[in-house]
């Protein structure tokens, strides 16, 4: 067990270091970073000054280790545009993104768990097919477009919910629903297949033979076993949803980390972009690590893997 944990942890650290390196390389893609920062109207002297001030005149590997050394301590430098520490900027915006991610995940679970169970119980019936079609539709829905359509319907025509911003909790409803749609298809299918597997197992037959009620069999015996993979996939999905929040935050003008990244991308504010990519990647790595460990605790068969 301990060996499994350590091995898994070492891999996570290695992945994190690779992502750090990739994030550094990402900003060097432009060729000359100083020219990009200076903008189109800068003179050659401006570019020279910027190169000196930001330390871009040093050899690349010196810059890399300097950046790496600071980044592992949580110091991502200073934003070129906001004139603030990048860590502060991200810290201030993170609550919005995390709230959005959690709201999205909760909505996704509330929709997909009952649908998946229903489809499994009625396997092969029209209910099962309808759920499959729903998952298919969710998978094909362009999230940014769904967001705009919901804004028109619920924000403008019905006037029930705000169109943008999160001054009140209602502001999280529409973006949360849109974000949930990215996780609903896979969570529904997974719940369904897990339930079908659980319901066809011997312990369910035993429970039926004992004369337990249908609901008790479904919930206590069926769902508890089907939930194991769902829990871990839900954690991974949360990571994906945070990564995908850039589109939804931009559509709804929510000032979270994704919106910050989008703003910074359009302003050539690379330290911020780099840091957001990194932070989202690290959250994802932590969540998958957590999911794996959770799986191993819940299901001892996986520990040797």
């Amino acid at each position: 067990m301990l060996r499994f944990f350590l091995r898994r942890f070492a891999v996570a650290v290695l992945v994190a270091l690779t992502v750090l390196t990739l994030a550094f390389m990402l900003t060097r893609l432009s060729g000359d970073l100083a020219i990009s920062i200076a903008g189109p109207n800068a003179t050659a002297e401006d570019v020279e000054t910027i190169r000196r001030v930001y330390g871009l005149d040093r050899p690349v590997w010196v810059q890399y280790f300097d950046w790496l050394g600071r980044a592992v301590q949580g110091d991502f430098g200073e934003s070129y545009f906001f004139r603030d520490r990048v860590a502060n900027l991200i810290g201030a915006r993170m609550p919005v993104t995390l709230t959005l991610g959690l709201v999205g995940l909760v909505i996704a679970l509330v929709v997909s768990l009952p649908l998946g169970i229903l489809a499994a119980v009625r396997e092969g019936s029209w209910v099962d097919r309808a759920v499959a079609l729903f998952a298919m539709i969710g998978q094909a829905m362009p999230s940014f477009w769904l967001g705009l359509v919901l804004m028109i319907v619920f924000g403008l025509q019905l006037g029930w919910l705000p169109i943008s911003g999160v001054e009140t909790w209602e502001g999280f409803v529409l973006p949360g629903v849109v974000l949930a749609f990215s996780a609903i298809p896979s969570l529904t299918r997974l719940t369904r297949s897990g339930m079908i597997e659980a319901l066809s197992s011997d312990y369910i037959r035993t429970a039926r033979a004992k004369g337990l009620s249908r609901l008790s069999i479904l919930v206590k015996h069926g769902f508890r076993n089907a939930a194991i993979p769902v829990v871990s996939i839900a954690a991974v999905q949360l990571g994906f949803m945070l990564g995908g929040s850039v589109v939804i935050e931009t559509v709804f003008a929510l000032h979270g980390v994704g919106f910050l990244a989008w703003e910074s991308i359009s302003k050539n504010d690379f330290p911020v972009v780099q840091a957001v990519v990194l932070v989202l990647a690290l959250i994802y790595i932590a969540l998958t690590l957590l999911a794996d460990l959770l799986n191993a605790v819940l299901d001892p068969r996986l520990r040797t893997a």
Binding site: V15, L22, L190, V246, I265, V277
Partner: protein, 283 residues
């Protein structure tokens, strides 16, 4: 009487609908220059935001109306199909080459090579794809080929996962062993024994990835960092029409619906293929 695979496919409504959508879009995309009623780039500021001909105030000259610059919406939509299809196909080819190579090598050789492949997959999955694609497009200046390249370099993970696991399943089967005994080269075993036998699984992944690539291209273009204007990408059309959507909802409904239907069609096709094989790759 046992039904053939083809016969079973044709009785699957999902397959028929999906195939019809994809075939129709492909034909429209190929024939675009010959079937458009107007030049999709021709601006007519006198006739801006004319509603579709079947709506109130519509003009029979423009079946789907005109956009904010007076360009014919149907013509732009038709050219947009071209962009979506070409990006989808090219991305699948790029990501397929990367993912299948990695996956087959990892699954076939195992050991250290496999550890490395798994590491690549894990690292790739932890990178937020949309954000990185946006950043690269901003740094390098967005263009059609850049979008293909970036999406291709980012979307190979599922190819690698499926190629790896299916290769592992078959590498010790009798026909592979028989090939070894016949004394053929490693290259022969990989390309003539392994690849053909995992091809159907890879075809399913290809449809999933194509759908994803089409959606991501639209999202990137919507955010202004995908296909550059004046190209009529459906995502870009939605983005340009966004300002007017509260007055004229159809300006975003039309390109969005086209996008949704195409992606649904590609997914239905993939789902039918998966059903045919009786395997579940949805995870």
């Amino acid at each position: 009487m046992p039904m053939t695979r083809g016969g079973r496919l044709l009785r699957n409504p999902g397959f028929v609908v999906g195939a019809a959508i994809v075939a129709f879009t492909t034909i429209v995309a190929i024939l675009a220059p010959w079937i458009v009623p107007y030049d999709p780039f021709a601006i007519d500021l006198q006739r801006r935001l004319v509603p579709p001909s079947f709506m109130e105030g519509g003009d029979p000259r423009n079946f789907l109306g005109t956009d904010q610059l007076g360009r014919d919406y149907l013509s732009r939509l038709i050219y947009g199909a071209r962009i979506s299809m070409v990006i989808g196909v090219l991305t699948v080819i790029t990501s397929g080459l990367i993912g299948i190579t990695l996956g087959v090598l990892g699954g076939f050789y195992g050991g250290k090579i496999d550890d490395f492949v798994v590491f690549c997959i894990t690292t790739r999955l932890s990178i937020p794809a949309v954000l990185v694609a946006l950043a690269v497009a901003a740094l390098r200046g967005s263009s059609f080929m850049l979008v293909v390249l970036v999406l291709g370099l980012l979307l190979w993970d599922r190819f690698a996962v499926v190629a790896r696991s299916t290769t592992m399943q078959i590498r010790n089967l009798d026909y592979v062993a028989a090939a070894w005994c016949a004394g053929v080269s490693r290259w022969w075993v990989l390309t003539r024994e392994v690849l053909p036998n995992i091809a159907t699984h890879l075809a399913v992944v290809a449809t999933l990835e194509m759908a994803l690539a089409i959606l991501l291209e639209a999202a990137l273009s919507f955010l202004g960092l995908g296909v550059p204007p004046p190209l009529p990408s459906w995502g870009l059309m939605i983005s340009e029409a966004k300002e007017y959507m509260f007055f004229e909802a159809w300006v975003i409904i039309i390109p969005g619906a086209a996008l949704f239907i195409l992606v649904l069609g590609v997914n239905l096709l993939g789902d039918a293929l998966r059903d045919m094989m009786g395997t579940d790759l949805s995870r």
